[in-house]
């Protein structure tokens, strides 16, 4: 294990760039966040460190959600999502485990917990994947554009815009990130209460992927780019 610049700088999050709770119309946010203020704690070794090679435990797969087998292709707009995982200094984070999950093109999750609606399942779309970032922090997934879905329950029904859930396990416990990626120009984006839980418009904008110029796209996959910035400076891990 070579010496390397240590992940020694984890300033507190800027609250304007992070979601605020509770969210009206999302009852779980009122039932599942502490009534008491969070306590400040020192960052000791346990907080600052993390597993160096999470991909050894969470084994990466193909990164293709849309073609589960020969001759089987999911319904919907075929898309490619790619980008980089960086630290706050813009350094690539290599070996991070990146997982995505999403609804199918009809707005239905292939999850038994999502069973209360008419939207159909697609036998050719399971809707989750896992990859590890390369030495330049790059990742990529082939998938379909997810459909929107209505949030169940309650008065004042609202809709989730098309979105892809993203989980990143990086080099430090403090650099953990779970977020959602949105699609540019969707009229549901400005109405989404979860996206709008971020007070800073620039922070919301950073959760919206950028579409690659279609003229530059070869093949049948519309392309989107989505950059993820993990908390922490000088946080690039050494090779294990």
């Amino acid at each position: 294990m070579p010496d390397h610049p240590l992940p020694d700088c984890f300033p507190p999050y800027d609250e304007a760039g992070q979601p605020q709770v509770p969210i009206e119309g999302y009852a779980a946010t009122a039932r599942r966040n502490p009534a008491r203020a969070l306590f400040r704690r020192p960052h000791t070794r346990t907080e600052l460190t993390g597993p160096l090679d999470p991909a050894a435990k969470l084994v990466p797969g193909e990164g293709n959600l849309a073609v589960p087998g020969p001759g089987r292709v999911a319904l919907g707009q075929l898309i490619h999502i790619s980008g980089r995982v960086l630290d706050e200094d813009g350094r690539p984070v290599r070996g991070a485990v990146l997982e995505i999950w999403q609804a199918n093109a009809a707005g239905r999750y292939a999850n038994p917990l999502d069973a209360a609606r008419d939207a159909p399942l697609d036998p050719n779309f399971v809707g989750h994947g896992r990859v590890a970032t390369d030495a330049e922090g790059r990742y990529g997934f082939f998938t379909v554009k997810p459909g929107a879905y209505p949030v169940p329950g309650g008065p004042g029904r609202w809709w989730r815009p098309p979105h892809v859930h993203v989980s990143v396990i990086g080099p430090s416990s403090l650099s953990r990130l779970v977020t959602q990626m949105y699609f540019p120009g969707d009229p549901l984006n400005p109405l989404d209460r979860i996206l709008n839980a971020l007070p800073d418009p620039a922070a919301r904008e950073r959760l919206i992927a950028r579409q690659t110029d279609p003229a530059e796209v070869e093949g049948e996959w519309l392309a989107y780019r989505f950059t993820l910035v993990l908390r922490g400076r000088r946080a690039t891990p050494p090779l294990p």
Binding site: Y13, G17, Q18, T46, T49, K57, E88, P112, A202, V229
Partner: protein
């Protein structure tokens, strides 16, 4: 704005958090593997060092209902109090067969369980750390992970000196982060810590600023 290419400029703002949502795929969780902190790799045997433990409990919302399909993530030192990480000056002595990281997906009753070994304490710049396991909860409605720490009974002096446990101002809150000893089963010591994400002041779990 572009988020790339500013290697030497102002820091990039970290990406905003969003909730895990209710539909984290069960297929991304392998029970008995992902929640076993003793295994360095998928398929590797568990470490032979240390006292085997099972740390279990329930994740509960206001009113006592279960948080179903929530992730609980765990990270801890090995039995000797070391991390296989360059921030630990003694990382060369860390248990090479121990990972120390795992995650559990809660069941329909909100239950989680980790298989691990009793962590060792260590000296940190902030003070002497008692044996502990850091826990993070991700769930629908939780917009940013909620972090807390499990401590162990039988370490009263070490717990009293721990700089993170001491960050809680009230003895009743500190006691709430000490797991309950539930004896032994299946060759492991059993400890329980329920995680009450929201509740009345007498039951809510204390959580830390991340």
């Amino acid at each position: 704005m572009s988020a790339t290419g500013s290697r030497s400029g102002a820091p990039l703002p970290p990406t905003g958090w969003q909730t895990l949502g209710p539909f984290f795929p069960q297929a991304l969780f392998r029970d008995g593997v992902d929640n076993d902190l003793r295994r360095r790799r998928a398929g590797a045997p568990p470490t032979a060092r240390g006292v085997p433990i099972r740390l279990r409990g329930r994740v509960l919302e206001e009113g006592g209902g279960p948080c179903v399909n929530a992730l609980v993530e765990a990270w801890q030192a090995d039995a000797g109090g070391r991390f296989r990480h360059p921030l630990d000056p003694d990382w060369r002595e860390a248990d090479p067969d121990f990972l120390g990281w795992g995650r559990a997906l809660t069941d329909a009753a909100g239950r989680y369980e980790f298989l691990s070994v009793l962590p060792g304490g260590y000296r940190d710049a902030a003070g002497p750390r008692a044996p502990h396991v850091n826990l993070a909860v991700l769930a629908s409605g939780v917009m940013r992970r909620l972090v807390t720490t499990a401590f162990f009974p039988g370490f009263a002096a070490a717990n009293a000196a721990d700089p993170v446990l001491s960050a809680l101002p009230d003895p009743a809150l500190r006691a709430r982060l000490v797991a309950k000893d539930e004896g032994e089963a299946e060759g492991a010591r059993i400890f329980r810590l329920d995680l009450v994400l929201r509740g009345d002041p007498e039951t809510e779990t204390p959580f830390f600023l991340d």
